[in-house]
């Protein structure tokens, strides 16, 4: 299973500010500032919570399949800084 098969969401303490190059993401908890260096990445990050897994968020944002692996790496980088988190699905409710 790759990160693309898992459900993700933007961390609750992260604010996004769109910029011409993509976006700035600021984490109020750990005070880390991260640059999302592509507008499409911003779109993906915003769509994560609405989709059952990252792959369908990538598809919805129109990211070509050839770039999915690069986006998976970017996602893990964002997870390391707690910008995005694996969503915990509550079963049976």
């Amino acid at each position: 299973m790759t990160p693309l098969d898992e459900p993700w969401t933007l961390s609750a303490s992260v604010a996004l500010r769109p910029e011409p190059f993509g976006a700035l993401a600021y984490h109020f908890g750990n005070r880390k500032l991260t640059f999302l260096k592509a507008p499409q990445l911003l779109e993906v990050v915003r769509l994560l919570a609405e989709h059952p897994d990252a792959r369908s968020a990538l598809v919805a944002a129109g990211v070509p399949t050839a770039q999915h692996r690069a986006y998976a790496a970017a996602l893990e980088g964002l997870a390391d800084a707690d910008m995005v988190r694996r969503r915990v699905e509550v079963e049976g409710r």
Binding site: E19, R31, F35
Partner: protein, 420 residues
């Protein structure tokens, strides 16, 4: 600020690199410094804002709240609050809470004078506030030399109070000088002792710093020492990306290696004036005032000065240097306040071009504001101290001295031994 630039799906898709984007400016600053007051209990020799006395025109509580409202609308994620000594303002704690309640995080710099156990507990209970305690020597002797007597003890008490209150990860903020550059490991131990993170920044010849820069700025060989130390320890240390001029030594230092003045950073001073960067409080870098019609947003987005800073810059005299891509000409404020041309080398250029430029003809700009105390108090540091010449054991002997022992120095007298 902790900046990460990792999250980019390769290959790069945009037409311009991130550095180029930043050079053209953003819709709102990434990092904004706000000096709340010029009043200060200390009189540090190198104060970049020449602080001491409050300015009667300083923004009122209501005006400060309006600035915070605007920062919230512009999505400025956090402000670096400084001064003067910001905690001296009676409404400081109120403004802190107001900013946090409006999604503007606060990092404030203090000398620790008001960091009581109560305040420390209050700070420990919120997520959105970060504290920087200024310390310019790992020992009282080195610190108090530039910050004034007793200032080291005040800072250490503040750090103790924060640690005891359970405040996590305070910052120890150090301006690197000729006197403390040999204490970098000791600063690191000091930070560990209080569960804090070390933050090192560059000494700028701004404000009162202009008068003491010649005696305080690190010597050329110390710059190399600093660079090597940063390369070895950079992961655990914050720098505000202020040492990018050192990148011309070799591999670039982590962070943004460019001058962010008016592009990604700026400064709001206590009376609401907006300057291009925290180290450039001078009429030449004044873009407008937050009380002007359009507020801070108009100054940031439309002022003539900031527009010109965001237009393509030529490397000037540095363009032909093979290290230009590393240091991009260095720090604008450092050049300006040492009387060097802005399109030439940084005064501390590690390739040695700065020293050549400093040796040439130059005129230091007259300061355009000075809030220093007019009369020195007991808190004032004394840089020039009377000492005896180390090569003389006693004062010189004048021709008319009456003492029979004048000029007699027992240490210098050799006693003949039997063998001789």
């Amino acid at each position: 600020m902790s900046v990460q630039t990792s999250a980019r799906p390769a290959p790069m898709q945009g037409p311009a690199s991130l550095v180029e984007q930043f050079e053209r400016g953003l819709d709102a600053p990434i990092c904004l410094t706000w000096e709340l007051t010029y009043a200060c209990n200390l009189e540090c020799a190198h104060c970049l804002s020449s602080s001491g006395r409050r300015d009667p025109r300083e923004l009122t509580t209501g005006q400060c709240e309006a600035v915070i409202d605007e920062l919230q609308r512009m999505q400025v994620f956090y402000v670096n609050i400084g001064g003067g000594e910001p905690t001296i303002r009676p409404d400081f704690w109120h403004l802190l809470q107001y900013a946090v309640d409006h999604q503007v995080g606060v990092k404030f710099s203090t000398n620790g004078v008001r960091m009581t156990p109560d305040r420390a507990r209050l700070l420990a209970s919120t997520d959105y506030v970060d504290v920087q305690i200024s310390v310019d020597g790992a020992t009282a002797e080195v610190n108090d030399y530039v910050r004034g007597p007793g200032s080291y003890a005040t800072a250490i008490t503040a750090l103790e109070n924060l640690a005891q209150a359970g405040f996590k990860d305070a910052k120890i903020s150090v301006v690197v000088t000729r006197q403390n550059v040999t204490q970098l490991d000791e600063f690191q131990s000091l930070a560990r002792k209080y569960g804090a993170t070390l933050r090192l920044t560059r000494l700028r010849p701004s404000g009162r710093g202009a008068h003491v820069w010649d005696e305080l700025h690190p010597l050329p060989e110390q710059q190399k020492l600093l660079y090597d130390w940063l390369v070895a320890n950079g992961d655990d240390v914050l720098t505000g990306d202020s040492f990018f001029h050192l990148s011309a030594f070799g591999a670039p230092l982590p962070g943004l290696n460019l001058c962010g003045a008016g592009r990604v950073v700026c400064l709001i001073d206590p009376v609401g004036d907006v300057y291009a960067c925290p180290f450039a409080i001078h009429d030449s870098f004044l873009a407008g005032n937050v009380l002007d019609g359009g507020g801070f947003r108009a100054v940031w987005q439309e002022s003539e000065l900031f527009t010109s800073l965001r237009s393509p810059q030529t490397g000037g005299a540095c363009a032909s240097c093979s290290f230009y891509d590393s240091c991009r000409g260095g720090c604008m404020a450092a050049k300006f306040f040492t009387g060097l041309p802005l399109d030439g080398p940084d005064p501390e250029c590690v390739q040695g071009y700065g020293e050549q430029a400093l040796a040439g003809e130059r005129t230091l700009p007259a300061p355009s504001q000075d809030h220093s105390r007019t009369v020195a108090t007991r808190n004032a540091p004394v840089l020039l101290q009377l000492t005896r010449r180390p090569d003389l054991a006693a004062p010189p002997v004048s021709a008319c001295t009456e003492s029979p022992l004048a000029g007699f120095s027992p240490a210098a007298t050799t006693v003949p031994t039997k063998e001789a």
